[in-house]
Symmetry: C2
DNA sequence: CCAAAAGTGTTGGGGATACACCCATGA
DNA sequence: TCATGGGTGTATCCCCAACACTTTTGG
């Protein structure tokens, strides 16, 4: 069992009677959908999987919570839009960032037809301090089980992102995006348990993780009131396909 | 081993000095990227995996081959755009259609900043007769190993689609999109072998396929010069996550 | 010496793989 | 009767899951 089926059913509507635009026509942008990027940013805080939400402070969705995003500028790639908006809002650089899915339902933005290319990002909890110098009324980490009704179709985007994250935990090394530089095996196991929402066997987990060539020893804990554990760090922080479970 | 890592590295470029658009601004569409849908349509012909290509007959890419696509109209969903353009070009309805990835590099369309939401479609070889009443110079099924340099970034899109298809063959039932209503187990195995590009053991393949609750018996072959095989059909043609290999 | 978390091996069962021969039909 | 592809069973191996006690440190 592995990954999410990426097809989401979208509302169907008959085409208009106007002829459809094709690549060869002159393009009238006012008849077109435009592109935004929205990013689901995950971190682990207090043993919970959390998402970064911002409170919209004007417009149709004033006072609703939403995931951060922005319209794609004509000379910024999708990836850079996600990366730059994320950096502006959180001060975070070098986070794990991956395209998720594109949402294009007709009614999803009340002002205008906008297609949202969603991304998901993984941030290590220690770095996840927020840059509050923002135009938003609020910006907060919210545990996924306490998320209410959000602006736009952002609940659907987050739900999809959670599924994708769960699958990716099982067959890739993305977990590195959520971990600090050094960590214990118990901490790593805990992150898996939080995201997969099930308990794992300590011995089997250790054997499995150590058998794949993913992490290396990095010293020992000090000053804890019990047997100090070995610390580990990732050998490299490049995405890999690795079957974990 | 399971699925493709969906992140593709995109060219990086510094943001402009203009302030970035956000959800709350008035939107000037001329500063925005607009959305197209491009679809990689697969079928099996002559024991080869083929993609539907069209020959562009005017504009910058005149005489290049490309995958079919079109600009997303302001009141058509992404899915419907893919479905409707595909039906217009091929006459095919009820095909398997799934969103693939969104491509947003800056230079990918020479005329204008266009983000392409790509889809992939699966068509059963028997139905894959083409509707030639088109505005294109040519429309053809091309075996994937004979595809040359295409217009836009369509080679990258196809390569990505092939990878996705290979992964999906292993853990879903999508193969139904490529099969006729009735088929033999040997034909089904052949389709797997073509797409996965490796040989499979006949006995193990049969045991595996029959052990998961996917297909049902549907009579026997007649008039063949050897022991007639049983025919099968899919129990239902809904996408499912099913580990095959 | 006690509390707390770290660390460590073995066993059994199930699923995957590898492998070769007989069967049913049309010509 | 022959050529063609259809159809079938078994043995082995490896991986996964289940399971409990000892070790090391600080207080």
């Amino acid at each position: 069992m592995c990954i999410v089926d990426t097809n989401i059913n979208l509302m169907s509507e008959e085409a208009t009677s106007q002829p459809h635009l094709t690549r060869e026509d002159e393009i009238d942008a006012s008849r077109c959908a435009i592109v935004a990027v929205d990013t689901v940013i995950f971190t682990i805080k207090n043993n919970e999987l959390c998402v970064l939400l911002i409170k919209v402070n004007h417009g149709y969705f004033k006072d609703s919570w939403a995931i951060p995003g922005g319209i794609v500028d004509i000379n910024e790639t999708l990836y850079d839009t996600a990366k730059n908006r994320l950096e502006e809002k959180t001060g975070l650089k070098d986070v794990y960032l991956e395209q998720l899915y594109s949402f294009g339902d007709l009614g999803r933005d009340p002002r205008r037809r906008i297609v949202s290319v969603s991304y998901f990002a993984l941030v290590n909890g220690e770095k996840a301090e927020l840059n509050k110098t923002e135009r938003y009324a609020a910006i907060e980490w919210i545990p996924i089980h306490k998320i209410g009704k959000l602006a736009y179709d952002h609940n659907a985007i987050i739900n999809y992102a959670i599924l994708r994250l769960q699958y990716k935990m099982e067959y890739t090394n993305v977990v590195y995006g959520l971990m600090p530089e050094k960590f214990t095996l118990s901490e790593l196991q805990k992150v898996y348990e939080i995201i997969l929402e099930r308990q794992l066997d300590k011995r089997n987990f250790r054997r499995k993780i150590l058998s794949i060539d993913l992490i290396k020893e990095a010293g020992n804990e000090i000053g804890v009131a019990h047997r100090p554990s070995k610390l580990y760090s990732f050998k490299d922080k490049k995405r890999k396909i690795v079957q974990i479970f």
